[in-house]
Symmetry: C2
Subunit: 194 residues, 2 copies
């Protein structure tokens, strides 16, 4: 029999995926319970704060998972190669899920920006963690901290937009072009520091 | 008494604003009718295709409006200045609406990418029109067509991401930084062609 903590973490994992694919409004408890194969009725025990609490936990989980991916890509010490890897991985994920799985946070962030402060904060925390991961990769490669922070913000913004456009166009072209252009730009930015 | 075409266009205008602020799922006919001050019951006459048709029309309207803004900014012949102007205008709009009015298309695009092909196509059409507007501004400033198209995609992606991050952080910093960095990059890109 599944332990209580398993039930909770299964629900959070399923919700993370559903929020990524279809957003907050379209995701209901019924689907979360069915797809996580957890017992109906246990949601109020595990999430007394309701769907909002489920979303905050799911966003924290997605945010941490994506941060690990980014840190993994940037720890190569070659930020331009990391950007190319990220673009290829994001394009593959979108294409192989029939354009369903883009950024795990952006949809909920835009939907709920005005409705829920806890959800808005959870989204902002995820974006901030990703920005720090990229910043760390750039400072490790020799960029001054202030320049690294600004450059990381441009990279994160361009990727968020490229994931949106790739999903909307149902074509990997935006991620391919943005990945290649940013990598070229990074090689220029980093050249004088080497 | 309002003419029938006025009623329809009032509904489309109101829906455009509501989709921008709160997305598709959260926007219902009741609110569209109330805020457009149009008679209840006329929606099925004007939009036999229902809320999906309203959304397609609203996205076409938002897309065309934003394209005019972009063409206006880029017709100065100075793409770097246009990017700075766009960043300042988008930051002002977000801040002055308590972070409610960002990109008029992105929220619906992410929410509905998987649910409605007509809505998905309307979003993709809007993004394509904006990309063409930026591309035209860059070719007018002397960039080769292929480079202009790729550069325009990077600019559009970075702005989409910066509008998302600005809204999420509730701070104009992302748009300010991304605007300044892209303007500097554009000045480098355009320098050899002058």
């Amino acid at each position: 029999m599944a332990r209580s903590s398993d039930t909770r973490s299964k629900m959070v994992r399923t919700a993370s995926r559903l929020f990524q694919r279809q957003g907050y409004a379209a995701t209901g408890w019924r689907q979360v319970v069915a797809e996580s194969e957890t017992p109906w009725g246990s949601q109020s025990h595990h999430f007394p704060g309701g769907k909002e609490q489920l979303a905050v936990d799911a966003l924290a989980r997605s945010g941490a998972g994506y941060e690990r991916l980014l840190r993994g890509a940037f720890e190569s010490g070659d930020p331009a190669a990391a950007v190319e890897l990220w673009a290829a991985a994001a394009a593959h994920q979108l294409e192989s899920t029939d354009w369903a799985e883009g950024c795990p946070v952006a949809t909920v962030a835009l939907e709920m920006a005005h409705d829920s402060l806890p959800i808005g904060d959870a989204c902002a925390d995820a974006f901030a963690a990703w920005r720090r991961a990229i910043t760390d990769g750039l400072t490790d490669a020799g960029l001054a901290p202030d320049r690294a922070e600004r450059t990381a913000l441009v990279i994160l913004s361009a990727f968020e937009g490229a994931m949106l456009l790739t999903r909307s166009q149902r074509s990997t072209e935006p991620l391919q072009v943005v990945g290649a252009e940013l990598a070229e730009w990074l090689r220029t930015v980093l050249a004088p520091t080497r």
